[in-house]
């Protein structure tokens, strides 16, 4: 049952009285204004309706609209930069063709223009050959509202407090050991108020946060330097507690200690060959993201990204679902957009869908793809075979209303192993082989073959013996995951945030990947600088 326009107006009137209450004078108080009235502002709803009315009036069979109000704050130890923006974007579907129009102006006239323009875009291309879009069902969200829970809103505290904190970390690092320093200390926060409405009767508002940072330590010994990034500050849906709630000083001390150990290790040349390899949680999360994380994006798998990032090695979805061996039976991967603090976490996606937790890989077998309302339908035959509902998993994402929502990665979670193993114990269990930290992967355009560069250690009899100077590992995704034979336990799992760019024009969103350290069979060690 869709909510009528009249109902909307009634709800709106109540909210209007709220908005009329006095707000603290900005000039006097100098405090960031409370924005809890903002989201309930009835004007937003009426603007959204205006856009939808224009779109449906011009012939759209489906239309949706997003209004976003963004704040950004970038800080380092000596300065900060604030930004703010507002955008609105309208999507319209006409005869199986999508049109989109967006801009920075929130006014009734603009809403109407955008609604009409989106339809104009769609209709012009609907002149082409027939195309069918059959959106998977999604219950309308009637007047939903959600504020992402964060402990400390970084826009409510003084930026000077944040800068003192960052500068203090630099002072602390210099004191840890002679020759230690902090090369970079930065923080970046965003806050977004988003309103979504659809011609199917949805209207919901959300307030979302992201936080991320950068701390890079350096240790200098006899003219040699070893730098490493503290990996606790990758992007997440958190506030200032990203810094204050984590043991950053311990992490800095640990980084300096590791640098000191590494600077003392002998450096050996590459002995090309195949080795059993242990990778830490950060590395495994990157491997997961760059292989299966990209390969299970359904639009990519079907060739819709071919002209940009490429395609997927899982390239026949309907044939492969339920049977393709994506990895060893240890491999279980799920996707969600609801984990607290997950970088992709929302209450409703950018099509108004409530995301669900879904299984991408079960006991090593490909089990699902990342979907939107349009793409979920493409797997209808698979879903009905297994008596699963045909529904979007809620992966439609537009980082701001200026961009059209497309499928982006959700939070990915790799289930840990059952035993209480961790990076150290996996290394201890390695008679002869390699251990890798600070792994950066470079995949091909099917996310199939990869080159991994990072800090590669030689392991002998369960102990780190030396550093392999200038080495790299080559791997192929299916063989990599099939060769995963040991996995860290739940105490060793870590969550990291990643940005991913996709689409034409390119758009960037963020998501989390949770993984444990793992042991892989027989990765190929090469000297990447060796010419043929």
């Amino acid at each position: 049952m869709t909510v009528s326009r009249r109902d909307f107006v009634k709800i709106g009137a109540a909210a209007a009285t709220l908005a009329a209450l006095p707000r603290p004078l900005r000039a006097d108080s100098g405090r960031a204004q409370s924005l809890s009235h903002g989201m309930a502002d009835p004007e937003r709803r009426s603007l959204a309706m205006r856009a939808l009315d224009a779109a449906t009036g011009a012939g759209a069979v489906y239309a949706d609209v997003r209004l976003t109000h963004n704040w950004t704050r970038f800080l380092y130890d000596k300065d900060f930069m604030d930004g703010e923006s507002m955008e609105v974007g309208v999507r319209a579907l006409v005869q199986g063709y999508w049109g989109f129009a967006s801009g920075p102006v929130w006014s009734p006239d603009e809403m109407a223009r955008l609604g009409r323009e989106a339809v104009h875009q769609a209709k012009t291309n609907a002149l082409g050959k027939s195309r069918v879009v059959n959106l998977a069902p999604a219950p309308a969200v009637q007047n939903g509202s959600w504020v992402m829970p964060v402990e400390i809103d970084p826009f409510e505290i003084s930026p000077f407090e944040i800068m003192d904190y960052l500068r203090g970390l630099g002072i602390f690092t210099g004191n840890v050991k002679h020759g230690a320093s902090l090369r970079a200390s930065e923080a970046f926060f965003t806050k977004q108020e988003k309103a979504f409405a659809s011609s199917e009767g949805s209207y919901c508002t959300q307030k979302l946060y992201t936080g991320s940072g950068k701390l890079v330590t350096n240790l200098e010994r006899d003219g040699r330097n070893d730098s490493r990034a503290v990996d606790l500050l990758t992007v997440a849906s958190v506030g200032w507690e990203l810094f204050t709630g984590q043991p950053l000083r311990d992490a800095i001390r640990q980084a300096i200690e590791t640098s000191e150990r590494d600077l003392k290790l002998p450096v050996k040349p590459v002995d090309v060959g195949r080795y059993d390899t242990v990778v830490d949680a950060l590395g495994v999360s990157g491997l997961l993201d760059d292989t299966l994380g990209r390969a299970t994006e359904l639009d990519r798998a079907l060739g819709y990204e071919a002209n940009a990032g490429g395609t997927s090695y899982i390239n026949a979805p309907l044939d492969m679902l339920g049977s393709y061996s994506a990895g060893s039976p240890l491999l279980n991967v799920t996707g969600d957009r609801s984990a607290k603090g997950g970088a992709s976490t929302v209450k409703w996606d950018d099509e108004g869908v409530t995301p669900d937790e879904f299984t991408l890989v079960k006991d090593g077998v490909l089990s699902d793809f990342q979907t939107t309302r349009e793409s979920a339908r493409w797997l209808e035959s698979y879903y009905s075979r297994g008596n699963h509902p045909v529904r979007s998993h809620g992966c439609a994402n537009a980082d701001s209303a200026i961009n059209a929502p497309i499928q982006h990665a959700p939070n990915l979670v790799m289930r840990p192993g059952r035993e209480a193993l961790d990076f150290e114990s996996l290394i201890a269990g390695l008679e002869n082989g390699l251990a890798i930290t600070q792994l950066q992967t470079d995949m091909d355009f099917q996310h199939l073959n990869g080159l991994g560069l990072g800090r590669i250690y030689e392991v002998k009899k369960g102990k780190i013996a030396s550093i392999i100077g200038g080495g790299g590992v080559l791997f192929r995704a299916p063989e990599l995951w099939k060769g995963m034979h040991a996995l860290g336990g739940s105490a060793s799992t870590r969550r990291f945030g990643y940005y991913a760019a996709k689409g034409e024009p390119s758009q960037k969103t963020c998501h989390s990947v949770t993984a444990a350290p793992a042991a892989f069979k027989q990765l190929t060690l090469i000297d990447p600088e060796r010419k043929a």
Binding site: L25, R31, S158, R167, N175, R249
Partner: protein, 498 residues
């Protein structure tokens, strides 16, 4: 601040559009409750930020160098906001429990907040912790390492006392005196060297504060310690404690100078330049066992005539330095006129050029018949202007000097350049002619960088100095005043050029 309701109501009437305003980019809150900071480092960062903010306004808006110089500045308290930030932030840290490994952050912070008693407690705790860790097999190495550590700790505390604002002179003094008394005799080289440096530092600080009695007393103690060492000990101290070339000699010379006393120096100059030169030479020789010439100290030599002038202006019609007058010759290489695309991107620190201008203004005001010569050279560029000819550049340099109200006559030579072959075509300055942008006295006196020379009416170099700094302005001014009042000194023999 609570806003009265009527004001709120009025503003609603006026600002109804504001209620429907689109954006709320609120300015940040500048009030931070530093009392809730939980780490020392954040407190240090907060005080640094407050200090920068306090002095920012001054740096940008107040031309400090035009203000009278307050020699007692080091004894004055810091601005209240800085002190209270330090106090509020550090309140939760107790001297009895703070980590000793944080000492170098905590002590300056406590001193900022005037928590001197707590600093004394901390120092005691730190000294008590020496030797408490681990045991050694043989007694001798343990004693040596304990002693070394004790000296290092005391030295650190001493430096913190002296560099604090206001400077904790008496605390520093007490520390040194106590150390002196408690050091076993006969004193070994290491503690002697440390004490020497401390006494000298106290003496120089007193000199800055124009306390000549204390200056002399401390200098005498430093000399006495120096004299107590055997020649081989002296050599060891020189190598291990002083390291770099000439710093030991400079230390000894400075101590001798302070012991000799200000008045004695001025008296000798009042007699004649030769007497002054002889006194300086004897102080140097006494300190180092070498003649000043061997150290490349061109005191007592005839100042060469400056050459290669390109500039115009009053005063360049006579040869400079001007005979019959007291001269201050300043080689100003890079004094705020080097190319800057944006005027604030000085290749050198701007804080170096402006204090010089101020010193010169004060010196000129004090001694109107002082002949000031500023020697500079063209570089083929001037700030962000299109590349000037040498003549155009000279005009610009003089305009800049005038804007800084720098007194004196400028003599600006044209630097010769060649270019690296195309396509590189960078400009490389050719080797300078003698006495072009620096005095060259044969091989010994370093000729790069800026340098100032005080020259008497006979054209004899009375004192060269590496830079014109505020601390020595008074001293130079006194020397100049003495020379002015005495006139020329007679015999050419006394001031014969070497």
């Amino acid at each position: 601040m609570r806003v009265p309701f009527w004001l709120v109501a009025m503003s609603i009437a006026l600002r109804v559009p504001a209620a429907t305003a689109q954006t709320l980019l609120a300015p940040p809150d500048t009030n931070v409750d530093v009392g809730k900071y939980t780490t020392i480092e954040e407190c240090v960062a907060a005080t640094a930020r407050v200090e920068e903010a306090l002095y920012r306004r001054e740096r940008l808006g107040v031309w400090r160098d035009t203000l009278p110089w307050n020699p007692k500045e080091a004894l004055e308290p810091l601005p209240e906001p800085l002190v209270s930030t330090a106090q509020r932030c550090s309140a939760r840290f107790q001297a009895a429990t703070v980590q000793l490994s944080d000492l170098r952050l905590v002590v300056p912070l406590f001193l900022l907040g005037n928590r001197d008693k707590d600093v004394a407690t901390l120092a005691t705790r730190r000294l008590a912790a020496i030797g408490a860790h681990g045991t050694t097999k043989s007694a001798a190495p343990a004693v040596v390492s304990t002693e070394v550590e004790r000296l290092a700790v005391l030295d650190s505390v001493f430096q913190w006392y002296l560099s604090a604002r206001p400077a904790r002179i008496s605390s520093a003094d007490s520390l040194v005196t106590a150390l002196d008394r408690s050091t076993p005799r006969p004193m070994r080289a290491k503690p002697a060297a440390k004490l020497m440096q401390m006494y000298l530092a106290l003496g120089l600080k007193a000199q800055t504060l124009q306390d000549t009695i204390v200056t002399r007393a401390r200098a005498m103690r430093a000399i006495a310690l120096l004299d107590s060492l055997t020649p081989s000990e002296r050599q060891a101290v020189r190598e291990t404690e002083f390291g770099t070339s000439q710093s030991f000699e400079s230390f000894a010379y400075a101590a001798n100078l302070a012991r000799a006393g200000y008045g004695v120096m001025l008296d000798s100059l009042r007699k004649s330049t030769a007497a002054f030169v002889a006194l300086q030479a004897s102080l140097w020789t006494e300190a180092t066992g070498e003649s000043p010439e061997a150290a490349g100290f061109p005191i007592g030599r005839k100042a060469p005539q400056l050459v290669g002038a390109q500039s115009s202006g009053a005063g360049t019609s006579v040869p400079r330095p001007v005979a019959g007058k007291v001269n201050l010759v300043l080689f100003v290489d890079q004094m705020c006129t080097d190319v800057m695309v944006l005027p604030n991107q000085h290749l050198n620190d701007p804080s170096e050029c402006r204090p010089v201008a101020a010193s010169l203004r004060r010196m000129a005001a004090r001694d109107p018949s002082l002949e000031i010569t500023l020697v500079d050279r063209t570089r083929g560029s001037f700030m962000y202007l299109a590349p000037p000819t040498p003549e155009e550049e000279v005009v610009q340099i003089n305009k800049d000097l005038a804007a800084h109200q720098v007194p004196g006559t400028s003599m600006i030579g044209t630097t010769q350049f060649f270019r690296i072959a195309a396509p590189d075509r960078r400009r490389i300055a050719t080797k300078q002619l003698p006495n072009f942008n620096a005095y060259t006295f044969g091989k010994s006196w370093p000729s790069d960088g800026g340098a100032a020379f005080i020259i008497d009416q006979d054209g004899i170099v009375v004192l060269p100095t590496g830079a014109l700094t505020r601390d020595y302005e008074q001293f130079f001014g006194d020397l100049i005043a003495v020379m002015e009042s005495r006139g020329k000194t007679s015999t050419a023999a006394a001031g014969s050029p070497r």
